[in-house]
Structures are given as structure tokens and as C-alpha cells.
């Protein structure tokens, strides 16, 4: 029941973040939604994820505020209002139709199908020595995932450095 309340709070915070006039208040509403996500991870028995989400949320908000401070945009009303609304409705309808068919195939809430995880839980303490099964999976059973994650992080850092460098190419050279 408390999970429903937190999810409704997250949806309201996300709506405020989307519709707020100035960017700083919408960023603060986004961080409120992230805090709700962290709380719901805690209720869903994922304590490590709650800590990670909190830290990453703070970093994201700092970066977004750095990007938007002193650069505000007044609300714009003109433009292709009709075409934009039609496109939005079509995309949302497509997503909802696919979600309707996908929801039938899912296991019921509260009864996960643990075909793979059963082996992980059984082997975790004997073959790796980790008491935390999540660390055993990320550090031992599926360590290639962590390698790919590091590769993506370095690619993102290279992209940020390439985009924000000051010295560009001079004309004609």
C-alpha cells in the first residue's frame, strides 16, 4: 500500500517537473521523484540500489543545475501545436498498445520466476564467498557486464570532453 502512495507521489512530482515554468523548480521536482524512487527501492528490498540511486541522483542534479543556471527560457506558445499534439498522441497510443500485450506475459506481482537466480543464490556463498548475492552476480557471475559498463562510462567521458573543449578548429585551417 505504501508503495502505491510513493508511486503516486513520483508521478505527481514528474508532472510538476514537466510542466513547471522555470527550470530550477522543475529540476527540484525531478530530484523529488528520484528520492521517491530511492525510497521504493528500499521498500522493494534492494538496499544497495537505494544508496546508488541517491548518490547518482545528487550528481545528476548538480550537473543539470550547472547546465541551466542563468539560462532560462520563457514559455513559448506558438509553433506547430496541432502537428505536435497528433504526433504525441500517436506515439503514446503505440506504446500503450505494446504495453497491453506485454503485460499479459508477465509473471504476477510478488511471484518472480527465478530460473537463473536459483543457481546464483545456491552457488553464491560456496563458490564466490560473497554474502551479498547482488555483489556476487556483478563481481563474479556476470563480470563482463561491469566491463561493458566501464567501457560505456569512458566513451561518455570522451564524448563530453570532445563536445565541451574550448579550442576548436579555426576557419580555413
Amino acid at each position: 500500500m505504501e508503495l502505491h502512495i510513493i508511486l503516486l507521489f513520483m508521478i505527481v512530482a514528474a508532472l510538476v517537473a514537466v510542466e513547471a515554468r522555470d527550470l530550477i523548480s522543475s529540476l527540484i521536482s525531478l530530484s523529488a521523484a528520484g528520492l521517491g524512487l530511492s525510497l521504493s527501492f528500499l521498500i522493494l528490498k534492494a538496499p544497495g540500489l537505494a544508496i546508488t540511486q541517491l548518490v547518482v541522483e545528487i550528481l545528476c542534479i548538480i550537473i543539470l543545475i550547472r547546465g541551466t543556471i542563468n539560462k532560462d527560457l520563457p514559455l513559448v506558445k506558438d509553433g506547430r501545436w496541432f502537428f505536435n499534439t497528433i504526433a504525441t498522441v500517436v506515439f503514446l497510443a503505440c506504446f500503450l498498445i505494446f504495453a497491453f500485450f506485454a503485460l499479459k506475459e508477465l509473471p504476477k506481482f510478488g511471484e518472480p520466476s527465478m530460473r537463473v537466480s536459483k543457481e546464483y543464490i545456491a552457488d553464491s556463498l560456496t563458490s564466490t564467498g560473497f554474502a551479498n548475492v547482488v555483489s556476487a552476480i556483478t563481481q563474479h557471475f556476470r563480470n563482463l557486464d561491469a566491463l561493458a559498463e566501464a567501457a560505456v562510462l569512458f566513451a561518455a567521458i570522451i564524448g563530453v570532453l570532445a563536445v565541451t573543449r574550448k579550442a576548436g578548429r579555426v576557419n580555413g585551417k
Partner: protein, 112 residues
């Protein structure tokens, strides 16, 4: 089931923000909301009713743990979401330096 529907509603809010808004920062905020919804959906699928956290402790009798595999995957996804946000914000800052606006309809002409 109602939790799944609320999660899909959160996803729809983010999708609406991406498709309908004209401010680049609002689009990045929509990406963040979609990322929240997808992470929450993974964890909801792996939840076991009255389960406990997937950590072994002294009393080995209780073994009804929640599914640890989605948690391990979402741990990766959260960090990659940070990388995506950083890259998008740096692109937005660069666009603001060149064009002086965040409005995506004003960014039409190529300026070298």
C-alpha cells in the same frame, strides 16, 4: 498489477515530455523520468511477496529472497543513466553557447 500500471503511467509522463516540449532541458528531464520508470519496473518484476533482501546473514533458515538478478542489472543501468545525462547536458550547453537558446525550433541553421 496496479503497480505495473502506475509504472507505465510514469513512463508515459516522460514520453510526453520528450515528444511535446520544446526546451532541451525539459527533454533531458523526460529522459530521466523514463529511466526511473524502467528501473522501477525491473525491480517490481523481481519482487517476492514478504521476501527479504538478497544478503546471507547468520540465520540461514529463511531463504525466501527477492530476485537478485534484476538488481544486479539495474545497478549497471543507474550508472549508465548518469553518463547519458552528462553527455546530453554537455551537448545542451554547447548548443546554448552557439545559438543562445534552448528552444529546439530555433536551432535550424548550420553555423560553423
Amino acid at each position: 498489477m496496479s503497480l505495473y500500471l502506475l509504472c507505465i503511467l510514469l513512463f508515459c509522463v516522460g514520453l510526453y515530455s520528450i515528444l511535446r516540449k520544446r526546451n532541451i532541458i525539459k527533454i533531458i528531464i523526460g529522459l530521466g523520468i523514463i529511466e526511473y520508470a524502467v528501473n522501477l519496473f525491473f525491480i517490481l518484476i523481481g519482487y517476492r511477496m514478504h521476501g527479504r533482501a538478497p544478503i546471507f546473514s547468520g540465520d540461514q533458515a529463511v531463504l525466501n529472497m527477492v530476485d537478485p538478478l534484476p538488481q544486479a542489472i539495474v545497478m549497471t543501468t543507474i550508472v549508465i543513466g548518469l553518463a547519458i545525462t552528462t553527455l546530453a547536458v554537455s551537448l545542451a550547453i554547447r548548443i546554448y553557447e552557439k545559438y543562445g537558446t534552448f528552444d529546439i525550433t530555433k536551432i535550424r541553421k548550420l553555423r560553423g
